[in-house]
């Protein structure tokens, strides 16, 4: 059986499909985040002493930080697909990803500051990971600014796609900023990442909450891309025949 993958690359087929999927993503996101936080608060008793209860900040922090990097890779993937195949929907997807990525980056930075204040005694430090994450926020903002600064949407798509490709260099920098070969050479406040050292219950809570953030991202990105499709395809017949428009 062969599947025609390009079928859903047309806005007219993707729009209703995304609409049907949004509620499923919402419910599964709410379920995962709810379950993950329940596990994180009630199934992790006395793992750390009472004095360290702030560690629960990691649940939103890690989820948002992972999504901030992953969404940038997704954005670049769609931008690249747009440049290669010149498909309208790819650019719209890239444009729809950016604000959610920026929000995730912002959440990671702010929750990180609250973590830092309790754990390291400072709201901010120019530690490699914080600095590179801040640059990621500026890249998202730069991408969105460039996209909205050019009136011709086709040119805006291509210019901002190229910008996003250049910015991709920060994602590996963020990733390896805490995992440098010789820890003594690094001045990082973040410890090296090591899933194996984390208590199983905390890990379960963290992974399920992060999965919830991922599903949430699907939901809001699909919502945004549907609005983008309506606006950008407003002169097409299929948009005008949609029940929500023609009614």
């Amino acid at each position: 059986m062969s599947i025609n993958w390009f079928k859903y690359s047309a806005p007219s087929t993707f729009y209703p499909l995304a609409g049907r999927m949004i509620p499923w993503f919402w419910w599964s996101a709410i379920l995962c985040i709810g379950f993950g936080l329940y596990w994180g608060f009630f199934q992790t008793p006395a793992i750390l002493s009472d004095q360290k209860q702030y560690y629960r900040i990691i649940f939103p922090h890690v989820g948002a930080a992972w999504m901030s990097m992953w969404l940038y890779a997704v954005l670049v993937g769609w931008a690249l697909a747009g440049l290669v195949f010149n498909t309208r929907l790819s650019f719209m997807m890239a444009q729809a990803v950016a604000p959610t990525g920026a929000i995730m980056t912002f959440i990671a930075l702010v929750t990180g500051a609250f973590w830092g204040k309790t754990s390291w005694g400072t709201w901010w430090d120019w530690d490699p990971r914080m600095t590179s994450e801040l640059i990621l926020l500026f890249l998202y903002i730069g991408y969105m600014a460039l996209q909205s600064a050019i009136d011709d949407s086709r040119r805006a798509d291509r210019a901002s796609a190229v910008l996003s490709l250049v910015g991709l260099v920060t994602v590996p920098i963020i990733f390896w900023s805490v995992n440098c070969p010789d820890p003594n050479q690094c001045t990082a406040l973040h410890q090296q990442s090591g899933m194996g050292r984390v208590d199983t219950n905390i890990l379960i809570a963290m992974l399920i909450t992060a999965l919830g953030f991922w599903l949430y991202s699907f939901a809001v990105i699909f919502m945004r891309v549907r609005t983008l499709i309506l606006e950008r395809e407003r002169s097409t017949a299929w948009v005008r025949e949609l029940p929500e428009i023609s009614r």
């Binding site: 360290k52 702030y54 929000i103 919502m223």
Partner: protein, 54 residues
Amino acid sequence: MSLSEFFYAGGYGFYLWTSFAITAVLMIGEALALNQQRKGAIKRLKRLIRLEKA
């Protein structure tokens, strides 16, 4: 664990709950804003179609 102990969080309640509150406000706010944007887009498009017909 009592409710007040839960919110006190070993003295870190302010940091813990502010982090959670900011996260929740941003994520729920994003969804609500998108809902408004969609309504706005539909409204504008309907008006555009009306104007074209007139």
